[in-house]
Amino acid sequence: MLKYTVKRILTMIPMLIGISLLAFIISINAPVDPIEKLTRSAESEGEAGSSSVATKIQKQEWRKKLGLDLPIFYFSISNFATTDTLYKVQDRDHQKNLSKLTHETGNWNAVSNYFNSLIKLERKYEKIDIKELYKQDSSLDINVLNEAKNQFGSTVKNLLANSDSRIINNGLSTLYSLINNNDFLTPLKPHVNKVKKSKNFLEANKTKWKTYIPSLNWYGFKNQYHTWLFGNGNERKGLIRGDFGFSYRDQKKVEDKIWEKIEVSFKFSLISILIAYLVSIPLGIFSAYKKDSTADRTISVVLFVLYAMPSFFVGLLLLFAFANPDTYSFFPVGGLKDPTTWNPDWKWWHWDAIEHTIPYLILPIITYTYSSFAFLSRIMRIGMIDVINQDYIRTARAKGLSEKTVILKHALRNSLLPIITVFAAIFPMAIGGSIIIEVIFSIPGIGVEILNSLTGGDYPMIITIFTISGFLTMVGYLVSDLLYAVADPRISYK
């Protein structure tokens, strides 16, 4: 038994690595750039000073802090034409554009040449100071100057983010006409010329065949995944030492955010599963014992109906019926406590706290419970019917044992077997299954946290939740397998 358990725990490790890899693959394909999100939220707070140089430096710092300046994985598979240092490019749009250009032309040197000339142009352009010009020659119209400058800037930005040859040509001709019409832009002309020259060179020197040869780039152990898993030796400790990294949204530690949420969700599922078991086992026994009676048929139909009711439908119906000023306003609409009347000094075992919380719990717990309860009762009934028809039950009855002893002592233990399987579902339910219910009742649990992380592009959180829920699911399977052996001595793992 012990050997078996150890073996099972050991096989969990490759599975966990698989799950974390799956989560990682999902997260690197995410459309949201976390750094852009972070800087934008900081800018809206007005502390970044909106100077582009300052934001660039800040972006760099954040990248370093979150470990985003590292390559993603131990190795990458790309083609012969692409460079292996593309991850060093900071801006995500630029990175995408570069890889697309390389994909189309197959000539990394020419592409990077072209791109560098564009970036140089952008830098030179940023140095042009309209106010200075205005001081020198006050006959100029400052609005016209500004407009021309802005147009120039947006065209350059556009060029940096586009790989389509037509758009590039259009952009270049816009730049030329802007330079011809505005004298103050003339110093930029040689740089635009350079861009055009490198662009022409790029068009003339396509080596598309290079993109058809796969190549494997080895990055070594300094990568994002390795840092996430094992840490980097400094401030990051890595998952195996209990450090889940930083949340992209507020740069708090993931584990600080996650555990209290999991606790909330876990309490809910534990309570509801307990209630479900307490109700469904007697109900299933009764139903099986009175098989094909009117009571059994009614119970079966009701359970079948309950089983097919979507939880979000039931939740909304409950809210509509019992938390609605138009009908009955017995319970609050959502949340876990009322901040205006909640006393922060209360501990959870204080009577006042319990009295305060219970109305908030009733509707969610009913919603949590009913579906698993219907499912469990049906399984219990089938299992019991199966057992009652067996010979040893007939023997027990023939011995003259009371019906109570026969059912509750002889039959019950064996009929519990199928219901144990379901126990494995508690742990994953604590995370995955609760999303919809938590959203309906606005409970601050892990389900709502998952949704917020998804919409916020907070991938460290998502990978962590994925890995933890995978771990809990496997623990659930293991526990139910071990419980099998407890319930049925015939089963032994050797």
């Binding site: 599975m15 698989g18 799950i19 799956l22 989560a23 999902i26 394909n29 995410a30 459309p31 598979i77 790309s78 083609n79 697309k100 994909h103 189309e104 993109t211 058809y212 796969p214 079948f304 109906v305 089983y307 097919a308 009711m309 979507p310 979000f312 439908f313 909304l316 119906l317 809210l319 509509f320 938390a323 609605n324 138009d326 609409v333 009934r381 089938i382 019917i385 994953p428 339910m429 995370i431 995955g432 299954g433 999303i435 919809i436 959203v439 309906i440 998952i450 949704l451 998804l454 919409t455 998502i462 939740i465 994925f466 829920s469 995978g470 699911t473 496997m474 399977y477």
Partner: protein, 448 residues
């Protein structure tokens, strides 16, 4: 007495499992009723545009006979008055059909479609409430009975009944397509894993290696080299994207075949030695991996990073729910592969592929069908859950789940909660009942 015996005798002689299962199924009254109900839902889904349409099915307008509901949206008709002079142009997409004065007209049962926004009945008008209507003279009056919103409206004035009718299409399609994908993957993988196990598929070593290398190169040419083509095609429309995806799969298979052909040149010595291909381990580990992630979590995560489209949601549900089907198929194949007739087929020299798909598979399908029927119910449930959360499905798309979602923000509008909820509930119950009856009919041992 004699008659009975005779019929029993013929029954035994012409015994067919299909007929037996069907007769068992028919004995189950709730299941039979569910089957009729399902057929009804399918009919509603097929004829949805003619059951709920803001344009009349047939109309005679100023002497002209037209069939607006069957016509294309962009159609324009010239209208002439009695003297034959040109009067106006009837543009099908922008005409307010309800205010025209017809000589004869037949309306669809619901005179709205799922996108039509009735601007006089916005903000959750209840079925029995005071519904307003603008008549042809431009006066706001009480609504005539045939234009009533029988089941009320939502916040932007869309008719709930029309949404339900059109939503049935999405619900049924989700079940069909996602489970179609799941069954293809599940049956193929389960059959291969169950039939060959870990030891029964043997290959020359070089072929085994080259197949793995071929998979890698196939992925590179099929997805890596074509990622921009695929992205652009999916950006244009889902159908063109799917075509590109099919081309990619073709490329992958082609590359694998090429590599396998090439490996024939190297068939000698050490490389020629046959090795076991542990196909069962591959499949089983894959199933375990997928099963250890909560399914809803996985689907929600993937749906939130890809483009919002109902088709993509279907594909995602299909790609994540094949494990149950694969497990059933695998278990059946484990049993079947040692039966005499399969061994006979093999000893006759039939290829493995033929033995699997022609001889063994038809006998393995019974429990798989049950699992597919249950799977359809859960796919519909998952899709409506996703729409309810507002993930994956486009924001302006009307599905049963998205209708329920509106009830979340406005609890007073009970009709927005009750009717879509009942629709989802009925569909899921129907599938569950049919699945249970199928299980009982196909395998009497499991009967509860």
């Amino acid at each position: 007495m004699n008659k009975v015996r005779k019929s029993e005798k013929t029954n035994v002689e012409n015994f067919s499992f299909k007929k037996y299962a069907w007769s068992q199924f028919k004995k189950n009254k709730p299941a039979k009723f569910s089957l009729y109900l399902l057929i009804l839902i399918i009919i509603i889904a097929i004829f949805a545009p003619y059951l709920a349409n803001e344009r009349p099915l047939y109309a005679k307008y100023k002497g002209k006979t037209i069939y607006p509901a069957f016509a294309d949206e962009t159609q324009r008709d010239s209208i002439f008055n009695e003297k034959g002079e040109f009067e106006s142009v009837l543009q099908y997409d922008i005409t307010d059909w309800r205010t025209l004065e017809y000589e004869k007209v037949i309306w669809a049962p619901i005179t709205y479609d799922n996108t039509f926004q009735d601007k006089y009945n916005r903000n959750y008008v209840s079925p029995g409430g005071n519904q307003r209507y603008k008549n042809s003279k431009g006066e706001i009056t009480k609504i005539p009975n045939k234009f009533r919103h029988y089941l009320g409206t939502d916040n932007i004035g869309r008719d709930l009944a029309a949404g339900l009718i059109h939503g049935s299409r999405i619900a049924l399609l989700v079940g069909l397509i996602s489970m179609g994908i799941a069954s293809i993957i599940g049956i193929i993988l389960g059959a291969l894993a169950g039939f060959f196990g870990d030891t029964r598929l043997k290959m020359p070593r070089v072929k085994y290696w080259f197949t793995i290398i071929g998979v890698f190169f196939g992925m590179f040419y099929g997805f890596g080299s074509r990622k921009y083509e695929l992205g652009e095609a999916f950006g244009q429309s889902v159908s063109s994207g799917l075509v590109q995806l099919l081309i990619s799969f073709g490329v992958i298979i082609g590359v694998i075949i090429l590599f396998r052909l090439f490996s024939r040149l190297l068939l000698f010595g050490f490389l020629k030695k046959e090795v076991d291909v542990p196909i069962d381990s591959f499949v089983s580990r894959g199933i375990e991996l997928l099963n250890s992630i909560p399914r809803l979590l996985l689907i929600i995560t993937i749906s939130s990073i890809v483009t919002r489209s109902i088709w993509i949601v279907m594909v995602i549900i299909g790609l994540t729910s094949w494990t149950g089907i694969a497990r059933f198929t695998r278990a059946e194949f484990f049993r079947i592969r040692s039966l005499e007739y399969v061994q006979a087929a093999q000893s006759l020299g039939f290829s493995s592929i033929r033995t699997i798909f022609k001889h063994a598979l038809p006998n393995a399908l019974a429990p798989v069908f049950v699992s597919i029927a249950f799977g359809i119910a859960s796919a519909i449930l998952i899709e409506s859950g996703l729409s309810f959360l507002g993930i994956g499905v486009p924001a302006d798309m009307v599905t049963w789940g998205s209708q329920l979602n509106q009830g979340r923000s406005n609890l007073e509008a009970w009709w927005v909660i009750v009717f879509p909820g009942i629709a989802i509930f009925i569909t899921i119950t129907v599938y569950n009942t049919i699945a249970e009856a199928m299980r009982d009919a196909l395998d009497p041992k499991l009967k509860s």
